[in-house]
Amino acid sequence: MEVGNDDMLHSAKKITGRLLIHLFIILLGVVMLYPVVWMVLSSFKPNNQIFSDTSLILKSFTLQNYASGWKGYSGVQFGRFFLNSLFICGLSVVANLAACSMAAYSFGRLKFFGKAFWFGIMMISIMLPTHVTTIPRFVMYNSFGWIDSYLPIIIPKLLATDTFFVFLLVQFVRSLPRDLDEAATIDGCSAYGIFFRIVLPLAGPALVTTALFTFLWTWDDFFNQLLYINTTVRFTVPLGLRAFVDASGESNWGAVLAMSTLSMIPCFTLFFSLQKYFVQGIATTGIKG
């Protein structure tokens, strides 16, 4: 009997322990999300109620901030910034997928002279800080007449300079069963055929992860956009937002928060609809995020 009591005490202790952990995780989660939730809710409050109001309860609801924010910056509507960003991100995703999956197929599946050497170089280049190449690239793009266009953002993706994704895809391509290739080779399938008919279709999940992170990082990539885009009509969301804040910030915080909220919607949507690919991508390759 005593042993039974001990067991019960033990499991009661265990359950309490678990509840405490849940409680801690939930509380910490609330603290972490508070700023974001505050931002979204404040974007629906009248301007004079935003300051210092810590509560998450809406006393009055208005869309005025969205209407005034949408007018944008120096005569260009915010919608334009969104279209520009979507355009850049869309092209970047396609370019990155094509170039990185090709390189990954070569590294992960084919035998060739110099493979170990190039693979080593590729891994090292993941760790290179971008700033070493920034200035000469700028000078080069300038001589091509590419400044104030989207080419300096998209062309590098077409040449797989985001080497990190090559690595991600190599990891995946390597894990695909080799028997398939052998069977296909016997059936007369060339290296090109194997790429298009076997590797690409099977690499679906890794390609989705690549597409996702390319989209997100291009969407938020302030540095390159700041560097290469000058004209307001070509501004992307981060540039538009920044210009808008600097121009009207202190007087119209409601609109700033409203446009900030809007700017996050694409990332949120992608995240919640494709969550499993995020976790897979991060866990298997350690995406820095």
Partner: protein
């Protein structure tokens, strides 16, 4: 001879065709610019203006605090960046590991929690969040409202506007984004076989002992990985400092990140030769720290059977 060449070509052509985009990108957009920037770092290059070879002058300028020939802000930017890297990265990893361990207890709703904790990482790099941060930590921001509501304290500082605290708000912003490191830790913790813990329990080892003798040694490879990746990206932090200080690195240079200073030198003052030299020094600093971590990793990273 010709036959051999033909065979060599046949065996390698497909692989190089697939490799071509990356190879071109690597040569044209990485190797060439790196050599070019090394060359420019010894010149007074400035787009459109006359320039010439000046030897080590750019590098000496970084070390000098003379107002005319030197760059008094350089050492400040280095201090700011080091402070940022060496506070934000350890704190971030400690948080990530702590929360990952709590979540690894076979709890329900882990995937929901994981998603919630990832949201800051998802959004943290954006201009929107940086803008929000500026508002949160302003003198009349909600952080101060919260503090005075909780403690009754009045006359709190404007955290962003105060040179003592501005960098701290950026560290908090970075630590806030511990979600992706946490997911990596969580994946690593799942690999540790429960048998180790069962055996330890039988031997009478307590929770603390189990953590230091089993968990920690077995995830050291993941700590190493996270440490290096986070350190490299922390050295390159730019957007948040740019937005929060409106491009200037203020107040009183307290948020003048290395990259921000480099950007201003290269693209605002058009001292591109000098900015190239700065970039190379940064590369060397990152390489040295990565090498130190790798070298010392032999003594603290265990590649045991738990992997």
């Amino acid at each position: 001879m010709l036959k051999g060449a033909k065979k060599f070509f046949r065996n390698n052509s497909a692989a190089y065709v697939f490799l071509l985009p990356w190879l071109l990108g690597f040569l044209i957009l990485t190797v060439y610019p790196m050599i070019q920037s090394l060359y420019l770092s010894f010149t007074s290059y400035s787009m459109g203006r006359e320039w010439g070879w000046i030897g080590l002058e750019n590098y000496l300028k970084m070390l000098s605090s003379d107002r005319i020939t030197g760059d008094p802000q350089y050492l400040k930017s280095l201090t700011v960046t080091f402070t940022y890297v060496f506070t934000s990265v350890p704190l971030k990893l400690a948080f990530a590991l702590l929360v990952a361990m709590l979540m690894n207890r076979g709890l329900k709703f882990v995937s929901l929690y994981r998603a919630v904790y990832y949201i800051p990482t998802l959004l943290g790099g954006s201009v929107a969040i940086a803008v929000l941060w500026r508002k949160l930590f302003a003198k009349d921001g909600i952080i101060n409202s919260l503090i005075s509501a909780l403690t009754g304290a009045e006359d709190l500082p404007g955290w962003i506007a105060n040179p003592k605290y501005a960098l701290g708000t950026l560290v908090i912003l970075s630590v806030w984004q511990f979600g992706s490191s946490m997911i990596i830790f969580l994946a690593g913790l799942k690999q540790i076989s429960p048998e180790y813990y069962e055996a330890a329990e039988i031997d009478g080892a307590g929770k603390t002992r189990q953590f230091f003798s089993i968990t920690l040694p077995l995830i050291t490879p993941i700590i190493l990985f996270n440490l290096i990746m986070q350190m490299i990206s922390a050295f390159q932090a730019f957007t948040q400092a740019y937005i929060i200080s409106q491009g200037k690195g203020g107040p009183v240079n307290s948020t003048l990140f290395y990259t921000l200073h480099l950007y201003n030198k290269g693209f605002y003052y058009h001292e591109m030769g000098y900015a190239s030299a700065m970039a190379w020094v940064m590369l060397i600093i990152i390489a040295v720290f990565t090498a130190i971590i790798f070298k010392t990793s032999g003594s603290w990273v265990s590649y045991g059977s738990g992997e």
